[in-house]
């Protein structure tokens, strides 16, 4: 199997599969993953043969444990990092695609690994899936849409933990 950080395949049924493929780090999303997602989401958008997109994670343990924190602080500056995000709005791109997204979630779905499914239309979990947005307890806030998508998805009384 390819060692690309994100895999892509199309089925005859018209489904494009985007598979996060860094199982050795619980499919943590680094810049390479973001780069690939940026290209692959446009492929999903522009390919008329792809009518639906499924997003999944490879390996036994995780859909995705979230942003790759080993890359935190490696940008030349905080403002450069912010600019990179603004100039290439991955999550906005997802929301601009009028095709259904299905998240197939197993194992850890933490941080961005929880927020990415929140941008999908349908979220299917396996029994071993666990979800968390730990950002605030770590001193920052969700930044893949979580502060906006979670309140739009889950009713207030359910958000307490």
């Amino acid at each position: 199997m390819s060692d690309a950080p994100v895999l892509y395949e199309k089925t005859d049924a018209g489904v494009g599969w985007i598979t996060l493929n860094r199982p050795h780090v619980l499919n943590a999303m680094n810049m390479a993953v973001r780069d690939d997602l940026w290209v692959l989401l446009q492929a999903v958008r522009d390919d008329p043969d792809v009518r639906v997109c499924v997003i999944a994670g490879n390996g036994d343990r995780a859909f995705s444990a979230g942003a790759d924190i080993s890359e935190f602080g490696t940008s030349p500056s905080y403002t450069d990092a912010r600019r990179a995000r603004r100039d290439r709005d991955l999550w906005g791109l997802m929301l601009s695609i009028n095709k259904p997204f299905v998240a197939a979630i197993h194992g850890f779905a933490f941080g961005a690994g929880c927020e990415l499914p929140l941008l999908c239309d349908i979220r299917i979990a396996s029994e071993d899936a666990t979800f968390a947005l730990p950002e605030v307890t770590l001193g920052y806030i969700p930044s893949a849409g979580g502060t906006q998508t979670l309140p739009r998805t889950v009713p207030p009384a359910s958000r307490e933990r």
């Binding site: 259904p100 299917i124 947005l133």
Partner: protein, 81 residues
């Protein structure tokens, strides 16, 4: 979930509406493929119109959202006739 950060399991995720379905691990891929294939078999222009209306409506007051829906429905019925 935002303030506490504590993980929740699949059962609770289902109960609070965070996920739409929970299946045994061995069935996850097949289940996603089946759901995907079912959606892919629908008319893509209709699916696109429904999704666009939902996304646009999420930003709007209800009355305006209903007008977005009405306009989309009219476009679709025009395309069908």
């Amino acid at each position: 979930m935002i303030y506490g950060g504590a993980p929740i399991d699949a059962t609770r995720a289902l109960r609070i509406g965070l996920v739409t379905r929970v299946v045994p691990r061995a069935q996850l891929r097949d289940e996603a493929a089946a759901v995907g294939a079912r959606l892919a078999a629908l008319r893509p222009d209709v699916v696109a119109a429904a999704k666009a209306a939902m996304l646009a409506g999420a930003e709007l007051p209800l009355a305006q959202g209903l007008r977005v829906e009405a306009a989309a429905a009219a476009r679709l019925s025009g395309a069908a006739s």
